[in-house]
Amino acid sequence: MKNIVIGRYIPGDSFLYRMDPRVKLIALFLLFVAVFVIDELWVMVGALAGILVLLPLGKISIKKVYFGLRPLLFLLIFTFVFQILFNTQGRLLTTLVLDFDPLNVSLAGLIFIAWFYGKRWTSFTFLSFLLALAAILTVLSQVTFLRSFGGYTIAIYEEGLFFAVFILLRLVIIVTLSTILTITTKPTDLNLGLERVLKPLKIVKVNTEEIAMIIGISLRYIPTLLDEANKIILAQASRGVDFQEGKFKEKIVQIISLLVPMFIISFQRSDELANAMEARCFVPGKPRTRLNQLTWKPLDTFVLVVSLVLMVASIGVRILW
């Protein structure tokens, strides 16, 4: 629970930290556009390579970004598998004929059970899962002992593979970019940056300061609420709740025993926050001065130009290629 990175600021010092939050937000937006415009796989791979170069330059350890990606691992794998299995456009690349007979199905089952119980002794759960999966597929497709009672053909098409890799890369890039933003930007700076970036919307009567404040407060409270959840889990564990085990019915009680205090504490916290803001004479929409003024540095111009060029280039590639 403590290792969840989403929305968490990690102190450090590099050019990514020194950039103006406004620039970071605009650059992020431009790069998002670029990533969504790209439709060539090699460009996408190039973009990922670019980010992998950017991380060490900005002194952000890849491990921390990986922690940011980890909660999305399931989503990533799901989209990947879905695309590969069900997209049937383009040229047929390869097929894998699976034959089910009682013996090889039970053998496959055994491999899975071996992985399931063996995973606690290895720190590479995911890697060992891939190995086990490969072994299961090999057993099901190559070994037939008895008369099979059914079969299934996994067919992988060119488009399917292409989109699977493509969407995977796109998601990874987007999440990595946003993680970089939250890791390197203090919530207050992010808030201020958002407020300034959204300012033009004021012309059409959008209350930009409040939007910025809502987003800022939400981001600020993610780690706080995670800590609270952790405390609740401990308090309930003291009363005999075993969060690691339990049948379905017990699981429901466990979740309720976590969610109810969570809800109540969230409301309490927001109430306290509202009081604290009011005690400091906060009035929504009133012009406010800042302790730290934003300063525009040559670095900011440079980053802005680079991301603009990247966006234009990706649009250009899309149109001309």
Binding site: K2, N3, V5, R8, Y9, I10, P11, K64, F67, R120, E228, K231, I232, L234, A235, Q236, A237, S238, R239, G240, V241, D242, Q244, I256, S257, V260, P261, I264, I265, Q268
Partner: protein, 286 residues
Amino acid sequence: MGIRLHAVSHVYQSINQPPFEALKNVSLTIQATDEFIALVGETGSGKSTLVQHFNALMAPTSGEAQLFDVTLTAETFKDKKIKKTPIRKRIGLVFQFPEYQLFEETVLKDVAFAPKNFGLSEEAAIQKAKDALRLVGLDESFEARSPFHLSGGEKKRVSIAGILAMEPDILVLDEPTSGLDPKSQEMLMDVFTSIQNRTHTSIVFITHDMNWVERYAKRVLVMKAGSLVFDGTPHALFQRPELADWKMDVPDRFKVMQYLKTHHSFKDPVTTPDELIDAIIREGQS
């Protein structure tokens, strides 16, 4: 033997902060019966981390914790075959803030939650819950009320009753008296004493108030910056010259004594409040 910690250290690993050593090489033993221990120390000295080691919510990063018949180390803690729940039944821990645990729709159900989790039948759990509520001084009128509509002090009592209902061998309380009025504080401390007199339950409580330490504790543990710096009787503690260095106060009686010594050249050594009163009367007469 109840709890035995041997050279326990605990390091908090965090992704956005350098590692923090909350416990440094702590060794101590707590008997399963008749202990009445006060755990004191300034904020951030590792008291809460320490008590979470007592009921297997945390495991030592190095060293080992023996909790009744289970020995926990960094490795065995991860082993799912070693069940932690039975330990938590024998060593009950009450957290400082009741908000983190109250969730049922009635007070009675909430207090019965723990005994039910430990395998008691519905009726038996309800009976235990009723007994526990009486113990902490909440009568029948509270049973059907929602725990969220109680006052802070009442919530606190409900959360304590929630642990008392499972009748642990060792009762660990994280600041049981915080947020209560003086009268309720005293009443609760007396409840703990009477529980001990009846069932010989060992009691460990965290506190900042030296008057409670002097009045109730048979033994004091002092934490400072993650280390256990003192383990002995309250009387021995208040004689220690390092008290100020440990950011610790003395009981009010000692302050009165100190005042009388400096301002009225008072010499009599006294140990109990009654002796103090006698000494003051004698001094007044002479």
